[in-house]
C-alpha cells in the first residue's frame, strides 16, 4: 500500500471533503487510524457508507498501522484524529513524508494555531518530533486552499 496523504483531522471521514481529497491525491483507500474507532464496528460501517463509492475504508489502531500498510495494496489516505495518534502511528519505522493538519477543534488545553486548528503543548511537541524525524508538517484546510508551515513558536 502506498500512502499518498497523511492527514490529521478530528472529524476523520466527513462528507464532500473526502471526495475532494481522494480525488486530488488519487486515492482508492482511506485508512482511519484511531484506537477507539478500531474497536467500534458500528462506526466502521458508518465510515464505509460515508466514503465515495469507489473508495475502500480500513480502520486500524496506531500500533497496527505500519503492518497494515505492508499487508494491504492500493493508494491510501491515512487519517488521524490528532497529532498524538499520528506520531504514535508513524514514528516507528514509517518513512518520513508530509503530515497535513486539517481541522482540530478548540478545547480546553488547546490554543489557536490557525483559524481551524487548535493545538495543545503536548500536540506541539509531537508535531515537532515529526519534523525532527524528517517529516514536512503543514496546515491545509482544503486541497485548493493555501498551506501554512508548522512552526514551533
Amino acid at each position: 500500500m502506498k500512502v499518498v496523504l497523511y492527514r490529521i483531522d478530528d472529524r476523520l471521514i466527513h462528507g464532500q471533503v473526502m471526495v475532494h481529497w481522494t480525488g486530488k491525491v488519487g486515492a482508492d483507500t482511506i485508512v482511519i487510524v484511531d484506537d477507539p474507532s478500531a474497536k467500534d464496528s458500528f462506526m466502521q460501517q458508518v465510515f464505509q457508507l460515508a466514503a465515495p463509492a469507489h473508495v475502500k475504508v480500513l480502520v486500524t489502531t496506531c500500533a497496527g498501522f505500519k503492518s497494515l500498510t505492508e499487508k494491504e495494496t492500493g493508494n491510501a489516505i491515512a487519517l488521524f484524529k490528532d497529532p498524538i495518534s499520528a506520531a504514535a502511528a508513524v514514528l516507528n519505522g514509517i518513512a518520513s513524508s508530509e503530515m497535513v493538519i486539517g481541522n482540530l477543534a478548540s478545547m480546553p488545553g488547546r490554543t489557536k494555531a490557525t483559524s481551524y486548528a487548535y493545538l495543545s503543548l503536548a500536540e506541539i511537541e509531537k508535531l515537532t518530533a515529526l519534523q525532527q524525524s524528517g517529516w514536512k508538517v503543514y496546515f491545509q484546510k482544503l486541497p485548493d486552499e493555501s498551506r501554512q508551515d508548522f512552526k514551533k513558536s
Binding site: I13, H14, Q16, F42, L49, A105, S106
Partner: protein, 134 residues
Amino acid sequence: MVQVYLMCHGSLAQSLYDTLGMFFGDRNGLTIFGLGEDMAGFKDEVRTAVLESSYKDLLILTDLFGGTPFNTAAALLPEAEEKGKQLEILTGVNLPMLMEIMPLLPDGTLGELKQAALETGKESIRDLKAELGK
C-alpha cells in the same frame, strides 16, 4: 409522538426553520441544532438532546452524509436504542421534505414521517423543461 431534530452545518438549520415559518405558524415539533465553531459544544448538546429526550421517537434530519452533524447523530444510535429510543436519521434535508412532515406532527408515527420525508425529499427535485417535454 415524534420530535424532529434538524442538524446541519452553520446556519442552515436556522434558515430552514425561519423559512418554514412562512408556511407554518406552529413549528413546535421541530428542534434545531447548528454546527458552528464549537464542535465539542455541538456534540454535547446533541448527545443530551438525543439520549435525554422525553420523546421516545426521534426523526433526525441532517444535511451531509458523513458530515459532522450526521456523524454525531449516527454515533449515538446504538446507545439511544439501548435506552429504548427509536431513531431515524436522514440526510439531504430540504424545504419540501420539511413542509411534507409538518402537517403529520404531532400524531404521525416515526415510520410515517420517515417515509414521507424520504419520498418527498427525493421527488421534490424536478426538472421543469424535462417535464414540459422540451
